[in-house]
Symmetry: C2
Subunit: 137 residues, 2 copies
DNA sequence: ATCCTTGCAAATGATTTGCAAGAGT
DNA sequence: ACTCTTGCAAATCATTTGCAAGGAT
């Protein structure tokens, strides 16, 4: 839990049990939408309210502790903030896996932005398709 | 309007005036969320209902006539279906511009998917930052 | 001690549904 | 003719808010 406490304090947020539980759940799940996080947190903290999950996820996104991952056709998922990377999103089961963004892509992306006089801050690459499991079925 | 009528018929959808108006509005706007489309369509078709816009956008996404563009922090926008490309999204004014996805990126993206035994169908690259206009302010 | 956060319940906002009348093929 | 679509109003679902009590620094 010390890990999550530090993440919060580094961003000048109070380290409440609720926030640390949300971070711990997201860390385990990888990616989760708001109700999934709420259900998981309730297992260890049954009195938490959905409104608290909403409020905290919003605050932690605003403060750069977690990141929103918007997905076509589904509710946004959230993940712990990390370097830009690629999301492999299964359109069958909704599972999301991370893949590293190699230097070539990073460079290409920034040159595309430069060519349009656009000042890039971050990027999000989503690939939609079928995951290993769902390909068979 | 013949253009939009064809787009619909090619996907076995009835060419109603409401659907063609939505397509025409999206074509002009480039990208629009549901209420923006609703407000624009009302200018030429004042009796259209919001529910109709919802229902049609959903049907046309399901049938591949238009595409959902999910955006962090904002409601999804929609655009006419076209080849995979890059979205430059201004976090200040919300404006979305398209940029071509060059062959390098396309190849890199597909090799990332292959390395993870993932069967890619489509991809979505969003770059967040400041557009030409908002950079100054 | 102070300010921020929590949980609750109520309020708002967004999206979906059921249905009778009308439009498209 | 037949089937799908429309517009309306109501229903549902998602998200936000106000506030008194409790927690973090």
């Amino acid at each position: 839990m010390k890990k999550y406490e530090n993440m919060l304090k580094e961003h000048s947020l109070k380290a409440t049990y609720q926030r640390m539980s949300i971070l711990s759940v997201l860390d385990k799940m990888g990616h989760g939408c708001i109700d999934e996080v709420y259900e998981k947190v309730k297992e260890t903290h049954p009195t938490i309210s959905l409104a608290t999950v909403y409020k905290n996820i919003i605050t932690m996104v605003e403060n750069g502790v977690i990141t929103e991952v918007p997905i076509a056709g589904l509710k946004s998922k959230y993940e712990l903030k990390k370097d830009d990377h690629i999301h492999l999103i299964c359109t069958e089961c909704g599972d999301v896996k991370d893949a590293d963004m190699d230097d070539k892509i990073t460079q290409d992306v920034s040159s595309v932005a430069n060519n349009s006089s656009f000042e890039a801050k971050s990027s999000n690459v989503n690939i939609y398709g079928l995951c290993k499991n769902c390909k068979g079925a």
